[in-house]
Amino acid sequence: MTEKVKVRIDGEVIAATAGQTILEVARTNNKYIPALCYMEGLSTVGACRLCMVEVSGVARLLPACTTPVQEGLAVATTSPQLESYRKMALELLFAERNHVCAVCVSSGHCELQTLAQEHGVTSVRYPYSYPRLPVDTTHPRFVLDHNRCVLCSRCVRTCAEVEGAHVWDLAGRGVGSRLVSELQRPWGEATSCTSCGKCVQACPTGAMAEKGFGVEEMTKRRAAVSRLTSMREGE
């Protein structure tokens, strides 16, 4: 049933299985494509647009995390145009919220920060929007700082798909979008939250953290969340 296909990534011919995404194929073959909203073991949403690649014969750029491979597909993972788009996307993420890495619990272990470093984002060319955003400290063990949220929805999917609690959702539109817990209830009052902390581990930035961690102290165990799904699939 699993149909084998041949694709080219940056010129190299690679054997893949139909239905796999470009990102999955690239990752299993040690080809680097940046990604932020993608997390192994979760459904894909194509929210961050950092994984955009060029596909020959297709005029527009396609997100590698949601585009399935097919026979003969030829992908370029990098080009001057892709680089400039990725840099732009990263800068816009920074401009949208208040990221002060110097005082952030995740500094040094943050996927957004790492991506920015990898892509040479040393300054942001767009005006910062400095939104006034709250910090939800109501949960006894965890804290949500909207200032550092990139709306990747990894927490939403982790909670719904892995834990099965579906505490989180994204409300609003565009720059007004906000992560909400249980129909706008403070996290600490969300009755469906099991306090498992998987969302915190899945969050790529310092937006979700365990309470009591100081600057640079919050390391996360994302692989543990991904492993849960792969173990279930194996059953």
Binding site: V135, T137, T138, G188, K211, V215, E217
Partner: protein, 511 residues
Amino acid sequence: MATRKATADTRRRTTPAAAGVESAGDAQATQPVEAQRPAMQTVTINHVSRIEGHAKITIKLDDAGRVTDTQFHVTQIRGFEKFVEGRPYYEMPSITSRICGICPVSHLLASSKACDEIMAVRIPAAAAQLRELIHCAQFVQSHALSFFHLSAPDLLLGMDADPAHRNVAGLLESHPEALRDGIALRKFGQQVIERLAKERVHPSWMVPGGVNAPLDPQVRIKTLEELPGAMAIVQRTLAMWKRALDGFPEEIEAFSNFPTMYCGLVGPDGSLRLYDGNMRFIGADGAIIADQVRPEDYATYIGEASMTDSYLKAPYYKPIGFPDGIYRVGPLARLNVADRCGTPLADAELELYRARFGRIVQSGFHYHYARLIEALYALERMEQLLANPAILATKVRAHAGVNNLEGTGIIEAPRGTLIHNYKVNENGAITWANLIVATGHNNLAITRGVHQVAERFISGKKIEEAALNRVSALVRAYDPCLSCSTHQLGVAAVAITLVGPDGEVFDEVTT
């Protein structure tokens, strides 16, 4: 000239006339006096160089060119306390340490202590020892910076030396050994901080509940090896400074040489404390006015007046009121307040210091001398702390949630008493914060000191080099950290202006 009486005190009681008082209602009393002064000239000193931050000094002259009033204003905006509202309390050490690139360790410690209170924990003994150790290292580096890098050009080359040479480059030519000592001493302090915290600026090693990693035994060995060298530098410098002091009779006499109260932390036995201890207030005559004031009671004793022309608040001793409750903090104050240092070498030096200048030393010029004695004390404390193997214990952090809705942490920063006071809600989000920094406590004394120096050295419509530099040097003696005071990051600078009877600007200088 040399026989001039050093009695500027009582007349100067009303000097901070430009202060608008928020809490006390006596500001109006000074207003009419202002209004009645028809002919007045003003000298404004902008950008006093070689201090940390931004400040401006205005000196008003009457028709005869006599000083009538002085103001020491800080020109940046506070707003820090508002900005942290809503943040989890345990982020405060790292956030507040960003107030200042000069004294991050002081803020980290005061903030961590306030957080310890919110958590209601007693931190492990080794953690307290390690915090004191890094604090002492910060004292050494900060005092070295103040004495050698910032003030030595005036002190070693002379107040009247050619300004083109009265700087670090000039020092390199004439006093290379002193400069080398200064650099080495500061480096020693910085390296200890780096070794302990793995980062020199804004170390994240100090955390609520203790520190986040135990002491590496190698760091203990290395630091113990280097301590004698650092000690020798301070002793050399002290010997040199004790000889040099005779060359500054006018500065000693006129550099805010007036009676004030003093405030500093002391241990249960009245000895000098930098990291822990309770507050003691003494009067100008040395009488203890309040003793063993616990951190949580600070607001009973300290009031804060807002100055209309400066963002720097002016704290005062509440039971006495504003502005008579003026007190000083920092090295001079600590050595006045403490019965003794508590370490042998520093105590021997303290005895000589007191034998020469009295049990209570009033002249702001002696901040320099006091700073050197404290540097010696800090090195001795480091040695004592490191000599005890208990400092290697691996339990260095207490964990807890919110157990108190308010916490206050007080330490002696190199520049003086530093107070962090936070209130949180049940979830640990900051609802209110108040910070009182060393330069804030000294604000009134600096203003009054500028007046005294200006009166002594300024005459006529021009800011002469000698006057300009002495006013700046007075400010530098207090080693003010203006980025701390205004809770804003800033570049080192202050400026001076001279305004005539009709508000006309006579002269303006940036040093």
